[in-house]
Structure formats: structure tokens, C-alpha cells
Symmetry: C2
Subunit: 451 residues, 2 copies
């Protein structure tokens, strides 16, 4: 929401022009109203809220911040709360409940219908990352022997409470899924045909305990609007809709970004998170990596006499460690993302490793050529400098190969032992590679200069 | 597709059991058939393809690799090509054409209907990252004065060729968008009501030249299934559907991962890309960063006498550079992602910087405490070592502050001058920070030890 409209709203509120305010708000989208409310003092939110028609109020409520939702629930009478909860979809209610403190949850559960309460408890009971936790139990169901006209009658009667009616599911008496039929297909069919005649039986189903990330991949692969969710006994218990799949796709990408920068997960927005929480999410990895870097330091201090003999050696350390780290960041990012999107599988290990080795060859050739020219230009070309350039060149080649190899091996090994490959990204890998490149460098330098 | 089903298919092909093969294939999803074809020799693909019903064949074709599509088009007669192209949606055809060499494109354009050709040229004409490039021109349009019954009749007549009929768009004679109406709303309305009565006039529209990334954000924000696209004169020219939005969301995240690891964009899958292309995408940044690291090396070699005086100093370099780099990776990742998702805006600059400074304070306190204990335990606690620990502590504090500050400043500055903030991620930032931490370290060490 831009500043001008926020000004208008606050003016109207100040001057208590409620009917006018209402007329403006009902023209807006729930999301935009929620964004306006974000800038409004808490005590005025319930005033605005009471202006909205029941259904719109519920839609706005879903889009609000959990802090604001909590305040608003506390300001509501039981009757108002009940009216609003009646308008919400089950999966939205579950999302809200998951963010609320226990006392508020109790109040919500007291003020919803027994049916709704049952559905909510069903969904709350599934693990956090499962398909069950993101599904809604409100789907349109039809029976096989209904005619198309009967099907439309049923959809018209019951559809208003369903999250989507664009795909209807056909179940038998024991709720086993027999098929699905889209509204589109129903529209093109004759009124006298039965649902059983026109339904598709080749349907993609997921299970309640499937990873929600895999469910999102199914959406992407098959371009679906909704996927039915079955329980262990293959009975239909709910559906996941495409908007929830988009949320999962984005969450998972965010999670990988965070992990790949050596931080711990945080679901809140950056600006809304307190500094101390940010610090907590970052400090563990920083400590681990700092102490690991001390090992590299220890290795360097073992070569004190090399530094005294050829002080120039120290000048090459940043370049070597930097290049190793950058190569490792590149290869590990490709592998981690490939594993996340299923483009790369564990069975591709040798193929991937071989590819990285071939490109290490190409890359290190170019890097060494450019670096040799740079060293000779910068430090002259007497025999001692040429020897130094050779040490540098050999170290670069070995470092690039080791960096790209570890960029493949570490993430794939993590996946193999069921750790998240994303933790093997640049920060951890770089720390390992720093130690490797120092060992390579001083190993080669000691041999060449007989140190 | 698992190995067993691939075996079955290849057996059936070998033994020429075509009717049986056909019966199996028509039970499968287009995506799965495309995956099967991926493992089949090119000369057999057209055999399988000719077994499929026309509509299914077209759906499979869309899901195939562009290499395979090309082979198949070349193997088709003009008549076969024409039949298949008739079944494709405009936006899918555009996607295919964009991947084909010029000769194949000409053949395709020759074999499609004039209407289709016009639509394709329209879309091809929009820039790559624009809403126009991902839209389809096949939407269901209604008129304001149609009754609901007439609307249904029109949808039944023309809907089969539309990508989605779940949202219909209401336009006037000059194709200006007046409103939209969902099939759901049409279903709940009385047959005698007019479309104008029940349509929503508060519709979210995007423009042909809007960034497709922004279009994807609109989908996510408002949970839509389709968004209408208007041209400069505000006339409706097409719609973008949610499946295309999911593709954009994933592409954009991939792009950021790649850029943040200092690589150039590559649209092909990792395994299908030749090593030399991978090398090409990686080498530029590696060279730039390697040469920049030489500056840090130059700084170090300026402190040769410091090393000779206190050789232990070199042992602290990896820890200091490592910690600086890791802090920078953390803060820049938070900022780059925040900017990408609009959680953080340029106007938040001071707020974000202040937050990072507060958490730098917390983080550096803990790091210094742990590191001091480590140094004293490892090297003993005579006055000289304590002095060294103080140098280390002060350098750590300064480095953490600089790292987190640059992690905010560089991405936001990039955004300000309309560069992609993602290029300011760890690899580039680390190289800058390496130089900073070395300067800080030797500056403090020189002052304390009077070097």
C-alpha cells in the first residue's frame, strides 16, 4: 500500500468518517486491507474490522500478522469470534492456531463448530513437514452414480464452503478415492451422463505423511490446481491446493538460502526479528567455523621457517584460499541445488564428479596462465620468481581440483547419510578448503625450495 | 520413471507389441510418457509418438526436451506437424519456438493457423523477462450483457481451446477489461442474471511489459489462478496462468542461487550442460576474484617485517579472514533475499544497518570471548601472548562490524543503481572483506607492537 492511501485511511479514521471508510475498504482486496491495517494503531484495528462485511473481515484476518491476529482475537467478543471463525477455511484456521499462544488457541477451539474442531485436530496431528499439515479437509466430493445435473446441484448446494470446486473428487462409501472430475469436464458433459462415465481414474494422489516439499514438486511437474491427500488406508482425507504449494516452494528456497549461508532457520521476516534472535541464529556456525579455522592457523604456524626464508609466500595465501573457496562455492551450489530439484541424484555421483574434474582441468589452466603472467609482471622474471610462479601454478591446479571434488563429495555424502546437503555449502566447505589449500601450497613450496 | 517400467517399454518396443504399448501409454500422464521417451533412442521416438492419440501426443510433446522436440519435428510430415500444432496452447508453442533453430521455426510457422501465427508473433515480440512473454492469448471472454445461461453456452462452445475457463474476462467492444467472473460465481448465479450483474470490477491486472518476477509475486500475494494482461492502451491481450507463475518463481530462485555463487546463468540442466559451458560460466568471476585477491596479497607483503618480528601473526589470518567472510555471507544473504522478496526496501536502509550493527555487537562479544580463551589456552598467557590476544580481539570486533555493514551496504547500493543485488553475495564480498580484515589486523598489530 502506498503512502498516499495510508494517509487517506488515517484521515478518515481520525475524522470518524466510518461509512465513507467502509465504502472504500469494501472495494479493496483483503491483502491490501491487511497491509493498511499493518500501519494502524492496535486499538483502532478492531474499529475498522467491525466495519467490514463478515466474509471480507475473515479474508482480511487470514492475511494479517499473527501479532495483530492475537490482539484482534483478544478484543473480540465470543460471538464476534464465532462469526469470524465460521467464515474461515480449515487450513487457514490451522495456520492461525499454530501461531497463537495456548490461551488464545483454547478460546478459538471453544468458538468453532464441532465439525471444524474435528478437522482442525486431524490436521494439527500431522508432522510439520507433511502433506497432512498443509491440506484442507474442505473439498467437493461426488458419487459415481450421480448424473451430471445432480452433480451440479450438489456443487451449488455445498460448494460455497469448499476451498476449490474446480476439481471434484469421486469417492465410494468407505471414502476410497475412485476418480476425479473437473468442473470443465462437467460443463462439457450432457446432463444425463453419470459422474462415473466422465471421471478420470488416473489420478495423482499424495499421502498424508509425504514430505510437503515432494507434494510441491508434484504440482510443478503436472501443472495441477489441487492434489488429493489419502491416509494410510488409502481413504481420501483432504486436498492440497496450488496456493499452498507456491508457499512451500518459496519456503523451501528461503530455507536453502539461509542454510547455505550457515544460519539457522527463522520463519519471521527479517525486520520483525529482534537482533538477539538474529545473533542466536548466526553465532553457532560462526563459532564452529572460527574454531575450525584455527586448525588452518596451526598448519600455517608450522611453516614459520618457510615464511622467514621466503616472506613473499604469505602474499599468495589470500589468492589461493580465495580461489579455492570460490570454486568450492560454485560446484557445491550446483550440486546442492541439483539435489534439491532432483536434477541430480546420488546414482549420478561418478558422472558428476567426472564432469567437475574435466571442468577443473579447463578452469585451472586458464587461472594458472593468467596468474603466471601476473606474478612475472609484478615480481620480475629471475629464476627464483619463475620457481615461485611454478609453485603457485601447481598449488592452484591442485586446489581447484580438490575444491570442485569436495564440492561434489560433501553435499552428496550428506544426502547419503540423510543430512541436509545445504549445510555443506560455501561457509563450511571454505573452511575445509582453506586448510587443504594451505597444506597443498606449503607441501609444494617445501619440496621446490627444499625448506 | 523407474527402471522397471522403462524395461517394460523397451521390451514392448523390441517385440513390436504396439497395440499393447499403446494401451499402456494412454493410461499414463503426459509428463511420465515424456520421461519414458527420454530413455528411448531417437529413431524409435517417432514410432511411439504415432501410437498416441493426437491430443495426448501434443501434451507429451510439450513436456519433452527441446533436442527431442527438434528431432521429432524433423521426422514429422507437414501434415503430422500441423495436426500436432493445432492441439498446442499458444504459450507452449511460443516456449517451443524459442528453443528451436531458425529453419525449424520457419517450418512450424508455416504449419499453424493464421490466428495462431498472429498470437505467437505477438508474444514473441515482448522482452524475455516481461509478462507478455509468458502470457497466453487463449482466455475465455464474455460480454457484460450476456445472461448467465448465455455465458455457459459460450463457454461450452469455445472453452475447449482456452487454457483456463475458471476465470472468464468481461470486455467491451474495444477489448477494454470491464471485470472478471469465476465459473464458481456463474454456477451459483441464476440463469437469468447478466454477467454484468455478478462480475467483479475490482480486478488485479498486469501490463505486458511488467517484469514477470513481479507478476509471480502478485500470484503469491493474492492467491490467484490467472491474471489478465493489458497492453499500453489498457486493452486485454492475454492472461498468465498460475502454472507459469510457479515456473517463474523457481527460475528466479535458481537464478539467485547461481548468481550468489559467482556464476553466470545457464538454463540447461546441470548434467546436460557440457563441461566447457560450465567452465565458461564460472571462469570470469574466478578470474576477477583471483586478481582482486592479489591486492590483499600485496597488502600482506607490505607487512613483511611484521611477519619476521612476530611469525605467529600469519597463523591468525585464516581465522580472521574466515570469520569476516562468514559474517558477510550471512548478512548479505539476508539482505539480498529480503530485497528479492520485497521484505526489505531501500527506504529501510538505516533501520537494517542499525539492526546489523546491534547484532554485530552481540556476535563479536561472544566470538572474542571464545577466541581469547582459545588463544590463551593454546599459546600460554605471558604478557606478549595477552597482547596478541588483545590484537586478535580488537581485529575480530572491527572485522565483524565491517563485514555486516558491507553485507548491507553493497547489495542495497547495487539495487539503488539498478544492478542485481545477488552479485554482491559471498564471493565478491569475501574478496573485499579479505582485504579489509588484513588492513584492520595489521593496522592494530602495528600500533600495539610498534612494528
Amino acid at each position: 500500500m502506498d503512502r498516499i492511501s495510508e494517509n487517506i485511511i488515517s484521515k478518515l479514521l481520525q475524522n470518524k468518517k466510518y461509512p465513507l471508510l467502509k465504502n472504500i475498504l469494501v472495494e479493496l482486496n483483503p491483502f491490501d486491507i491487511a497491509e493498511i491495517l499493518d500501519g494502524v494503531p492496535l486499538e483502532q484495528i478492531s474499529t475498522i474490522f467491525r466495519l467490514l462485511p463478515k466474509e471480507l473481515a475473515a479474508e482480511v484476518f487470514v492475511e494479517m500478522d499473527s501479532d495483530q491476529q492475537e490482539t484482534l482475537i483478544k478484543a473480540c467478543s465470543d460471538k464476534e469470534l464465532q462469526a469470524m471463525m465460521d467464515e474461515l477455511y480449515v487450513d487457514d484456521t490451522v495456520d492461525i492456531i499454530e501461531e497463537m499462544p495456548a490461551t488464545v488457541v483454547k478460546r478459538i477451539l471453544r468458538n468453532i463448530s464441532p465439525d471444524m474442531r474435528k478437522s482442525i485436530n486431524l490436521i494439527l496431528h500431522y508432522p510439520d513437514d507433511s502433506a497432512g499439515s498443509i491440506m484442507t479437509t474442505e473439498y467437493a466430493d461426488l458419487k459415481k452414480n450421480m448424473t451430471v445435473s445432480e452433480a451440479f446441484r450438489r456443487i451449488r448446494q455445498t460448494g460455497v464452503d469448499k476451498e476449490t470446486i474446480y476439481t471434484c473428487y469421486v469417492t465410494d462409501e468407505s471414502r476410497h478415492l475412485l476418480g476425479s472430475v473437473s468442473i470443465e469436464k462437467l460443463l462439457y458433459a450432457k446432463g444425463s451422463e453419470t459422474v462415473g462415465d466422465i471421471m478420470t481414474t488416473d489420478i495423482i494422489t499424495v499421502h498424508t505423511l509425504d514430505d510437503k516439499e515432494d507434494v510441491a514438486k508434484v504440482f510443478d511437474k503436472y501443472n495441477l490446481l489441487a492434489i488429493p491427500v489419502a491416509d494410510q488406508e488409502n481413504r481420501l482425507v483432504g486436498i492440497v491446493t496450488v496456493d499452498d504449494a507456491i508457499d512451500v516452494i518459496q519456503e523451501e528456497a528461503e530455507e536453502d538460502f539461509i542454510k547455505m549461508a550457515a544460519m539457522q532457520q527463522n520463519d519471521e521476516e527479517y525486520l520483525k526479528t529482534k537482533s538477539i534472535i538474529h545473533a542466536k541464529n548466526r553465532i553457532i556456525w560462526l563459532l564452529v567455523l572460527m574454531l575450525s579455522a584455527a586448525i588452518t592457523g596451526k598448519i600455517i604456524s608450522g611453516y614459520e621457517n618457510a615464511f622467514s626464508a621466503i616472506p613473499l609466500l604469505a602474499a599468495f595465501i589470500p589468492m589461493l584460499m580465495g580461489t579455492g573457496g570460490n570454486c568450492g562455492a560454485q560446484s557445491s551450489t550446483m550440486i546442492i541445488r541439483g539435489l534439491a530439484t532432483d536434477e541430480i541424484r546420488l546414482s549420478h555421483f561418478l558422472k558428476v564428479l567426472f564432469k567437475e574434474m574435466r571442468l577443473s582441468f579447463l578452469i585451472s589452466l586458464i587461472l594458472v596462465a593468467v596468474n603466471t603472467v601476473r606474478v612475472l609482471l609484478q615480481y620480475g622474471s629471475d629464476p627464483e620468481q619463475i620457481k615461485l610462479a611454478i609453485v603457485m601454478g601447481l598449488s592452484l591446479i591442485c586446489t581447484v581440483f580438490v575444491a570442485n571434488a569436495l564440492g561434489v563429495i560433501l553435499p552428496m555424502a550428506a544426502k547419503k547419510i540423510r543430512l541436509d546437503p545445504a549445510m555443506m555449502a560455501a561457509p563450511l566447505l571454505t573452511t575445509v578448503l582453506d586448510a587443504c589449500s594451505i597444506l597443498i601450497f606449503f607441501g609444494i613450496a617445501s619440496a621446490m625450495f627444499h625448506l
